[in-house]
Symmetry: C2
DNA sequence: GGAGTAAGTTAGTACTCAATCACTAACTAA
DNA sequence: TTAGTTAGTGATTGAGTACTAACTTACTCC
């Protein structure tokens, strides 16, 4: 048994929760599954977090932060086509290296509808606010062009969905989507 | 009590399931909720369908078919910019008039990951096959241009996600996304 | 009008899962 | 060394839920 500080454990829980919730969504994931992945007893999760919802929320928030940071770091000091290229590449890396983060994102978007209907508007507010921060983060490097920003995010969403659906990398749906190929298309026009 | 033929009831169940699954996803929706919406006892669902999974699958399949039909009908006899415009308008109508269909779509995409991990590759196959049919359906009217098709679908996915997140129609995230505005942007370039 | 069938219900079972409680083991500072 | 704190566990509970079995009610056709 490895003892950790509560703060460190909370970090592990967030990582485990991202993976588990990303796979099964809020309702499709048991707290036991998260606990098992962390390597800790299930009841202990309720010492570290007030409840299952709080764990989901923490994972969701972390997920948004990470994505924003990814784009911010990738585009630092760049603008226009260069920033676009850098951010697209960075995102491609996230997809391949940390697919659980992207699935968690999808689950988060999808969980809003249910929360909203249950009268929990706070969660929706948080998710929308996170999205707007993400929006602004990519907006500036892309030359503050609304159409450019929207297109970039749209491609990102398509990538999320295709990856979620489990299309293998060689599949033709990815044609015209991989950043390099897409940029190639843009430059040839 | 209104008696219906089993076939009619199955139709009602599919409609109700689309709404309920669209809101809560597979695990977040109880068969009782579906039964209540249909106006029938919960165990009776298991006469009409072999199990909960079968209901989800039926709703998912119907959802894909409807979306494909929407695009096929909208683009009938048109091509290029006109087809693009018509399909985008038709989709906008779906979003506003039948949001449950769009949420069901999202839930379907997201459910694949879980199914895949549980060893159920059939579901993933079905969803991917549905996507490819959708892809081909919009591909032809858009002049069989891969980049054009990808972009169109990407915008569709962004719309799905934004709607799922519950952004109100006036919100600035929709700028540069509503078909007319977008087309305007395209024509001004 | 009664036999057969198709539509539908009530009652119940086996199981999962979030959350609580009461407890123990390890670290730390005086 | 000991008093107090922090990390962690095992047992349990109560609510919810997919699914089954046995029964009932309405329609239809001879």
């Amino acid at each position: 048994m490895v003892r950790m500080s509560a703060e460190e454990r909370r970090e592990s829980v967030i990582r485990a929760a991202t993976a588990e919730f990303g796979r099964g969504g809020y309702h499709g994931t048991s707290t036991e599954a998260i606990a098992k992945r962390v390597g800790v007893s299930q009841p202990y999760l309720f010492r570290l977090f007030p409840g299952k919802k709080a764990i989901f929320l923490a994972a969701a928030e972390r997920c948004v932060e990470d994505t924003i940071r990814t784009f911010a770091e990738a585009s630092a000091g760049l603008e226009g086509e260069e920033a676009l290229h850098a951010m697209a590449d960075a995102y491609t890396e996230v997809i391949t290296e940390r697919p659980e983060q992207l699935m968690m994102q999808m689950q988060m978007y999808v969980a809003v509808a249910a929360a909203e209907q249950e009268g929990d508007h706070e969660f929706g507010e948080a998710v929308r606010a996170g999205w707007m921060r993400l929006w602004d983060t990519v907006h500036l490097p892309l030359g503050a062009d609304v159409n450019e920003t929207t297109t970039f995010l749209a491609y990102g969403m398509l990538v999320n969905c295709l990856a979620g659906m489990g299309f293998p990398p060689e599949h033709r749906v990815w044609e015209g989507l991989y950043p390099s190929a897409r940029l190639k298309g843009r430059l040839e026009r």
